[in-house]
Structures are given as C-alpha cells and as structure tokens.
C-alpha cells in the first residue's frame, strides 16, 4: 500500500481546519476528533478530498469497508467490476482511493505531528506583543497597532502572473496583506480578448485598474481567507504595497454581504479600499471596506469635516467564514438540499453546438427548483455543467459560468412548494467523459450524472 505526500497534506490541512473549528487543541480533544472522523467515514462514508472539502462515498462499498477494517488495498490494482452503481464506480476512482487509504494510514501519526506543531505555534503566539504605532492625527487614529506585528507569518507569494497582468504603474498596488494573509495582485482585465468586456473573472487576487480613490481588490473566497477574515476586528489594518515601494494602510470599517449586481460598492468618493471575496458559489459576495490612513506629523489647521459616514461597527465582525463543503455524488435527477431548503429536478438535457455566440460542445439542461421551506434563496451561480474528468482531476472544480437564455438569476422563492424553472448550460469540450451537473449551495455540493437525462 502506498500513499503520496500530497494526499498527506490534504488530510493534514483538513484535520487542522476541523480541529480549529472544534477548538480541539488538547491531545484528548484531538483523539475525540479522530473518533468523530472515523465515525463519519464509517457511518456516512465521508472522507476529505481537500482542506475544505469532503466527499461522501457509499460506506458499504467493499473498498471502503476494506480500508476501515484495516485490510490492505492495492492502488491501481483490481477495480470493482460490473453491477456497481454509479456511486460505487465513483468511489473506485484513483484519487479517492488515495484519500481513503490516507484516512487509515495518516490519521494517528498526522494528528500527533500536528499536535506538536499546534503546541509550538501557540507558545509563539503568546510571546508576541504589539508595539505602539507612531501615527499622526488622522480621522481614525490607530495608536496601538504596529503594522509589522499584524503580519507575523504572511503566506509566501505563490501566484504566478503573466507579465501583462502585473500592475505596471508606479503607484499601482502589487500586493495586499490582512490578518495573517498576503496575496500578490494581478491587474484585472474585464473580458478576455475577443469577448465582450464587463465581466471580471479573477484567477487569484487582482486589483481593478483605474481605481485610485477607492481602490478595488478581489481575493478568492476560500477557507484560508475566511479564517483570516473571521479573525479580524474593526480597526484592523489592511496593507497595500505599491509598485513604487510605498506602503498604504487602511483600517477596516465595515464588512457586508452584497448582491453581485451591487457594483456601487466599487465607487466611493472617499480614499478607501474595498476587498471583494470573489468566486463564492452564490449570488452574493462578502466585501471588506476599509478607510485610508492618511497621516502626517503636522497639526491640523482646520478641524476635519464630519462628512465621512462610517458604517456602524459592531463589537464582533459580522462575518461567517466558509464551512467545509460536503460532496455528494449521485445519478438521481431529483435531489434535496436540506441546508439550502431547495429541491432540484433535472427534467431534460440536450447536447448543443452553440450557446449564444459561442460555438463548441455544450450541454443545456432544463431544471426546476422547488422551495422546501418559506423564503429560500437561489442563484444561477450555484449551478454549473462540466465533465467528470474535470471534477476528478481538480478538487472543488468549478467551470467558468456560461450564460444561456432562460438561465436562473438570483432571488428568493417566497413560499414552500413554489417552483421555478430555468436552464443551466456548460461546455463539455473534452467530450471524452460524461457530463455532470454541479449544484453547490449551503455547504453541500451535488455532483449529478447527466447520463440518464441526456438519453
């Protein structure tokens, strides 16, 4: 039996995330968490496939049972053949095998190693004391914060940017840091060459060019960013580093949930910064709003105007970090999502060669959303069509959105039992693997085979 370092890292990251959420810092707590994870694997077939994702596989699968019972399983060896359900075939995929084996092999040693690391990191945190900041009189002074002490262990910059995407103006921001995170910033472009402009599809973290008074930055909505934001408080500093080498500081004044169409958040006549947590599977976005620190050492000759309107800060940051996503593989064309309060039914799908002006290989499905309770939110951003090969290769894979006439917008179904019909479209350019419909909402991600719907 063999396992890889990569899969070990996946489990380690997943375990850390679960331990932090459960405040499991002592050895006893961690052992209890081990029991919980084993129980989840045994009873519900839940196994981690990324730091923030778990997959649900059939717990009665012979492969799963073999691993849970401590027997060896050969990777790449005999496959489950004939008579299996689609879920069982999914469970037999190589990446999943590795993760399952990981559950058995790395559980205890991983926890022990992590436990030692946690003890060490906690002692380091305890020894840090924020130094005073020699700030001048500004509208919102932050006299007790030292920017350097706020970012003791920034994430190493890992993004690789094409030359054309690097901010090139001397005063363009090239990186952003907040809480314990840092991102290299690319320069946003609205629409790829040859495509209609207006759509901003950031890959990692980007700055929107031309935004000078209110600077606009987008960073990915992920477990990592969510944990960092959840640890912030009003008045914390966000740092933009400019290409000139200058550092610009901003203090967090607000965090809010906005609809994707509320682009007015991008335009404000006060020196400020807005950070969008992008690419959430939702019609809404979290945005952080921060006011620029404009400090000098000069006395103010005139009292500052009271024109700046702040959002009323609350003692605790009104932010909910993303929770782990549970992945459910199914070939049923009707699925209930109790966390979203919605039922999804796929009535029919068709292969088409053109969607709008785009030509290629596409699948378009007629879908009905039915409210299971009053006042449930829905969004076309939670639905997508892709191919099995993509889902297998990239954990959490989500294709680029494809607009089609009749697609779902974003809104609310007011009463239980009410339904809404719409279309979902996606590109299946590879064509060598079966098309799937993805529905991710309320921390549940359904991976639905479309084989039957296409017949």
């Amino acid at each position: 039996m063999t396992t890889s370092t990569a899969t070990a890292r996946i489990f380690d990251a997943y375990f850390r995330q679960r331990a932090e959420r459960a405040d499991a810092f002592s050895l006893g707590d961690q052992i209890a968490l081990v029991d919980t994870l084993l129980r989840e694997a045994e009873e519900q077939g839940m196994v981690p496939i990324a730091a923030d994702r778990v997959a649900r596989v059939p717990p009665d699968s012979p492969r799963v049972r073999a691993i849970l019972e401590g027997r060896d399983v050969a990777i790449g060896g005999a496959q489950i053949q004939g008579g299996q359900t689609w879920q069982q075939r999914m469970a037999a995929l190589p990446p999943l095998q590795k993760v399952l084996i990981l559950v058995a092999v790395f559980l205890v040693p991983g926890i022990l190693l992590w436990g030692l690391g946690a003890v060490r990191s906690r002692s380091l945190e305890a020894s840090e004391t924020p130094a005073a900041l020699a700030a001048a009189d500004t509208a919102t002074p932050t006299p007790t914060l030292d920017p350097a002490s706020l970012f003791p262990t920034p994430t190493p910059y890992g993004a690789v940017l094409a030359d054309s995407n690097i901010p090139d103006g001397p005063n363009d921001p090239v990186s952003i840091a907040f809480s314990s995170l840092a991102f290299t910033l690319g320069k946003a472009s609205l629409g790829a060459p040859g495509e209609p402009s207006g759509e901003w599809k950031p890959a990692v973290a980007e700055w929107l060019p031309g935004t000078e008074v209110r600077r606009v930055v987008a960073v990915p909505y992920s477990q990592e960013v969510g944990a960092a934001v959840a640890g912030m408080k009003y008045g914390d500093l966000l740092t933009l580093r400019l290409r000139s080498g200058e550092t610009a500081y901003y203090t967090l004044t607000d965090i809010r949930r906005v609809q994707r169409y509320q682009i007015e958040i991008l335009n404000d006549p006060h020196p400020s910064l807005v950070v969008i947590l992008h690419s959430e599977r939702s019609g809404e976005r979290w945005v952080l709003v921060a006011e620029a620190v404009q400090d000098t050492n000069l006395p103010l000759p005139t009292p500052r105007s009271g024109g700046f309107v702040f959002a009323t800060p609350t003692p605790d940051l009104a932010f909910t970090p993303p929770a782990p996503v549970t992945e459910v593989y199914t070939d049923s064309l009707t699925v209930d999502n109790p966390q979203a309060g919605l039922r999804l039914h796929i009535s029919h799908c068709a292969n088409v060669v053109q969607v709008g002006a785009a030509q290629g290989a596409f699948v378009v499905c007629d879908v009905t959303l039915t409210a299971l309770q009053d006042g449930v939110r829905y969004s076309g951003d939670t639905l997508a069509i892709t191919e099995r090969a993509q889902v297998e290769q990239v954990p959490g894979w989500w294709p680029a959105p494809l607009s089609v006439i009749g697609a779902f917008g974003t809104g609310e179904i007011p009463a239980a039992g009410q339904s809404l019909d719409g279309k979902v479209a996606g590109e299946v350019a590879k064509g060598r693997s079966a098309p799937l419909l993805l529905w991710e909402q309320g921390n549940l991600r359904f991976v639905i085979s479309l084989d039957e719907a296409l017949q």
């Binding site: 509208a139 991008l266 000069l298 500052r304």
Partner: protein, 95 residues
C-alpha cells in the same frame, strides 16, 4: 484646490463628483499646512505678510501621489488648483 472624479466625462466639476476627506498639503517657504477636501474642495488661507504674492505654493495630495505648484495670490484674491480623475471602468457585476 478641487479634486473630483469626472463621472460624466464632461471634463468639468459637477455636483456629486467631489472627492471627500482627501488629505491636501500646502507648503511654501518653510511653512506647511494640511487640510482635507469636503465636497471636493479644500481651502487654505495664506498670510501675505509671511508668504508674499507670487511665492510658489506647492500643493500635494499624498494619497493620489499628485502635486502641483501655484503662485501665492495677493491679499483678497484666490489661487486655485484642480485635479480631475477619470471614472474607472467597473465590471457589470462583482466577480
């Protein structure tokens, strides 16, 4: 000193286009004062006895990395400077 975002592209200041709370520094002959814009406008009064007419006054907006020089006015006269900013191109919806 006027700072505005030319939202309608008419190259003139219109109501609602002013930048607020922007730090403005004015310096001349060793004197330096600071103020903030309100409705896009920042005003600084100079003393002709200390800063005679036609003395170069340097005006800076550090946040926008912009500066210019105007001549100190005579008593009772106003000298002005203007910073016009283009409206950025925004996406049709948030990413």
């Amino acid at each position: 000193m006027r700072v505005y975002i030319d939202a309608n592209g008419n190259r003139a200041f219109d109501i609602g286009e002013g930048v607020d709370d922007l730090l403005v520094l004015v310096s001349a002959q060793g004197y330096q004062v600071q103020t903030y814009t309100e409705n896009g406008l920042a005003r600084v009064q100079t003393d002709p006895a200390a800063i005679p007419e036609n003395t170069p006054l340097e005006i800076q907006t550090p946040y926008l990395h912009w500066s210019t020089t105007v001549k100190a006015p005579a008593s009772g006269v106003t000298a002005s400077a203007e910073l016009r900013l283009e409206l950025p191109v925004f996406p049709a919806f948030l990413p």
